[in-house]
Assembly symmetry: C2
Homo-oligomer: 612 residues x 2
């Protein structure tokens, strides 16, 4: 089925997203306005993104000493995206937004990721601006956020440093009050920043008039000391070019310098940078400071010491975004290999004694193993898409539901976000490998699209929190928080689906029972992991735990989808088949993963370094 068919089914037949229109915030919307948004995004993705996916892979970003050079198609795609209005899809009408549910925004953005994930469609800019809307001053919103929503400026998130990737408590970027200017700038408490930030996507380019960096840094005390751990981290707005209160460029550049481009395995359409803040390449004078104010000018957001909390405020959406990107790469490979399998002749039907040389050649889609590889991709990709849209729907519940709905949605999101981020990163990457395999030798060449999907997708287990970090978050925090309420709530939702499925037919009942067992097993493993209350023992197998947890969640999602696909249309039969595949081929894998969790297996943790 086409992406659009699947998206429409999930949004309407399954998630009943139109029900959101009964809420005040979305009252002006209807199926028609939602469809119009999807139509527009589908069209732009088809015309301005997909045809250039290989171009941006081959014409990597380059730095000529002054500017970052990107292929023209990137600017075209950016302009088309800006023109679509999607940057302010979720914003209020009165600031020019479309006031759309996040579910629709996420679904619409999926088309761009499917067309070309690395040309990029403004996720960072929107995340940046959303953060300012939540925690910035009115002037910061006006000067920075609104210009990001309009596409005039773009935004980045500057967290990692060369020596500090997953361990943000170890960042060394420093922010010191900007002397006499400190309290006088209407844009916020004014600091000077010095430090290096690594892995900054869209960190430098000429696509927009200005770049708004949101930078994590530590504020030293009078003795030059900082608070250890994440509590010492603050957040700053550091524009590439200085602006006035009307958000016009002053003509002066801030001291943010491109120190290098990262040359990556994939995702090459997105410029990824090492940035130097305040090293003097573009010195900014402060009146009356005699050069003491050296450093990049930054405006504090909110309160000191709250930087990471503000950053993580938007983390759920950011991680859903990564999961969605992984998902769309998985589906892009699925569609490509499905097309290929339908047209490539190879081999003959298997009969007793071998292949039948008298038969005409079959197309490879007629071979059971090719079907297995296609069905696995469908189960991974469409399952992941369903999960991401489910999570997006929870975001809407959190923002617009009543108090109880909102609280439950928040809690469910806490538990599901590590899965929404990690599961597609792992399994849609596997899907891309299967897409290559279906193409045979051709899939290993750059003449076909699938090898690039596989390379692009390999990033998703790394950025926005590695697989290992997600697993620690899940087993070390999320299933424990509020005395396990999140896990309990998820179990209730899963059990409700099981109850619905049991009476509906033989097959759904079998699946429901298998899911019930899996859920019980995950619950037991959670308890046994923590039964000694020793974090090092509980968390030694956090990743296998997350894999099993993820497969259980996906089995639930597939059962949900199955219950929405009971008619015998070709599309619904395909979805039921994929659900069947997931229950037969995938869910049983959890047993091997949970074995080591339940026994708190210390084989890995106890390995001596000199024995490797």
């Amino acid at each position: 089925m086409s992406l659009r068919t699947t998206v429409d089914f999930l949004l309407h037949d399954w998630l009943k997203v139109n029900e959101l229109n009964q809420r005040e915030r979305f009252a002006d919307h209807s199926r028609e306005t939602f469809d119009a948004v999807l139509d527009t995004c589908e069209r732009i993705a088809r015309d301005k993104f997909a045809p250039f996916n290989r171009t941006v892979d081959v014409q990597e970003p380059a730095f000529d000493g002054e500017k970052v050079i990107l292929p023209e198609c990137t600017q075209d795609a950016h302009n088309a995206y800006v023109a679509s209005g999607m940057l302010s899809a979720a914003q209020d009408f009165d600031i020019g937004g479309m006031q759309l549910p996040y579910t629709i925004e996420a679904a619409a953005n999926a088309f761009f990721a499917c067309g070309s994930v690395s040309i990029g469609a403004g996720m960072l800019t929107v995340g940046n601006a959303n953060l300012l809307m939540a925690h910035g001053t009115e002037l910061q919103k006006k000067v920075f956020a609104l210009n990001e929503f309009s596409g005039r400026f773009t935004g980045t998130m500057c967290l990692s440093e060369p020596q500090a990737g997953s361990s943000l408590s170890d960042i060394t970027t420093r922010a010191t009050p900007d002397g006499e200017e400190f309290g006088t700038d209407p844009l916020g408490p004014r600091y000077r920043l010095k430090g290096n930030k690594m892995w900054i996507s869209t960190g430098d380019h000429e696509l927009s008039e200005n770049i708004v960096h949101l930078v994590l840094a530590k504020i030293p005390d009078a003795q030059g000391k900082t608070i250890p751990g994440v509590k010492g981290i603050s957040l700053f707005i550091v524009p590439k070019k200085l602006v006035d209160l009307e958000s016009q460029l002053t003509g002066e550049r801030n001291d943010v310098a491109l120190a290098g481009l990262n040359h990556k395995l994939g995702w090459r359409g997105t410029v990824n940078t090492l940035l130097n803040f305040g090293e003097g390449k573009y010195p900014v004078r402060s009146p009356g400071l005699n050069g003491k104010g050296a450093g990049a000018i930054g405006y504090l957001v909110g309160l000191p010491g709250q930087g990471l909390r503000y950053m993580f405020h938007m983390m759920n959406e950011a991680r859903i975004g990564v999961g969605m990107a992984a998902t769309m790469l998985g589906l892009a490979g699925y569609y490509a290999s499905l097309d290929y399998a339908k047209s490539r002749p190879q081999g003959r039907p298997i009969i007793a004694g071998g292949k039948d040389p008298a038969s005409p050649q079959t197309r490879i889609i007629e071979h059971a193993d090719i079907k297995r590889m296609l069905l696995a991709q469908k189960a991974y990709g469409e399952g992941a898409l369903a999960l991401e849209l489910y999570c997006a729907r929870l975001v809407d519940e959190q923002h617009t539901g009543d108090a109880q709905q909102a609280d439950e949605a928040r809690l469910l999101l806490e538990v599901l976000t590590p899965i929404a981020k990690s599961w597609p990163s792992e399994w849609c990457l596997e899907a891309n490998s299967l897409a290559i395999q279906i193409h045979g030798g051709y899939g290993y060449t750059r003449d076909y699209a699938v090898e690039q999907y596989w390379r692009d997708n390999r990033l998703n287990m790394i950025h926005e929190g590695t697989h290992g970090i997600q697993a620690l978050d899940l087993l070390g925090r999320k299933v424990l928080m509020e005395e396990g309420r999140g896990l309990k709530l998820l179990a209730e939702r899963i059990n409700a689906t099981i109850e619905r499925a049991l009476p509906l037919g033989k097959e759904t009942a079998v699946h429901a029972n298998a899911l019930a067992q899996a859920l019980q097993r995950v619950g037991r493993a959670t308890k046994m992991a923590w039964s000694t209350d020793v974090p090092a023992e509980a968390l030694a197998n956090a990743v296998p735990y997350m894999q099993a947890f993820g497969h259980t969640v996906l089995a639930w999602i597939w059962l949900e989808v199955e219950l929405a696909s009971l008619s015998d249309s070709a599309a619904n039969m395909g979805r039921r088949h994929a659900a069947h595949f997931f229950f037969h081929y995938e869910l049983p894998k959890i047993s091997a993963w949970l074995n080591v969790v339940e026994t708190r297996d210390m084989t890995c943790a106890n390995m001596a370094e000199d024995s490797f």
Copy 2:
């Protein structure tokens, strides 16, 4: 442990390869001569291969219209490899060979694959020449094979065509008798070939004086018809440049033209080509034929119709070679990520309530999940290496053992070869992905080696018979042949290991029992797959069957290695740890794979095309 430490351990402490020296063929050899060969290869690989692995990835083969241009390091590496004598490692002393056991040859070649798999170390040339030694005439051996062993000529295997990859019965290359010249050429029955051959590695280059193509083609009858299926396939020697009976170049070029270079995801150091045979780019006149003899000149090898059988004669070694390449890529990534993990500081120890901000940073090798990813790589890579060397040892048994040993070795190889080829292709690729993961964002850049290993390794599930083909071979032929004698023999060997392990200690006994259960389960699944005697049902889940079979074989190999590692040296404790890992984390996976085999699950096979 270093590759050399592991190789030495496997060859001597485990496989007792010195015992081969008691056989007449290897009587002149000793531990010292074996060590000298390994020393030489280790040194050349370190000096001429490893430093240039990135170079050959970046400087892809290019065609200037006349010649294929390769980076200079490729010629240097080729020359050094030729000078090592490894091309004739296994040949008789009296033709200038080293008369080495294949086990030593395979182990020595492993160093080159670890250094740079795609610079290539003559595997195709040796395979080509070996085939001629087995099936060629004395003159064909002298003129072609001996010059390949000396490195003057290189060799290719031309099987696939653009429209026929896995289905060789559908090749369309034609060979017609060369008129009056047919029976008069001392080099063999002379044919003219026309057709296109795809995916031909080392198909064109200037590394050697000449290239000896071994080409599969069909001989039409007087009506122009060919025998359908593989029985119509014959084998031809088609030199790039024509030679005289003294193997000197005549100065005339044969009609073999480079039609294109394949631009691949990885393995870029090896030129991979589309070749046109007999399309007239380099016409070769035959005296007295008035141009009727157009086509590339080819000399028949052996008998007509036996081409595929001859080609497959060498298939075991070729597939062990692929498995070994995959293995060495896996280990190369393991060593790189182990180094990185030992030196990269990141994060802090986990204590109750989270991470301990007061502790100094740990190196990432101290984190349990990093250890898990290292131990998995070790278990995959060293386990695969042990399997490959075990299979190589069987090749020696087959060639130099007594009648019963030889017959059993032959049969075991039939069963094990699909695993030796497929298992490392799948799991050492996974190892490479883990090596990237350990490097975090850095692993995703081309500044580190690991992304290239991952790209290079993706080929191995495709070439020399795809994963799907290996699985059909295993479940459709190998476990059935000679009334299941191969499978029975393997089970006997595994049971012998189990018997040895049971009394040796608590841990080995636990592993032995787990292995016994797994073996029983595989046996049962084999029976149940075929219980309806319907090939389409039995083979619908051939790949999951092969995955489970492979994991069971590897568990056996790890138990074998464990039994050879009972002392408490750091290296032996590491091996026992890896065995433990395999039994705890990996072997339990077989259950999910075998479920669908035992039930002859037709979920995939029954999926309707319009439901995808």
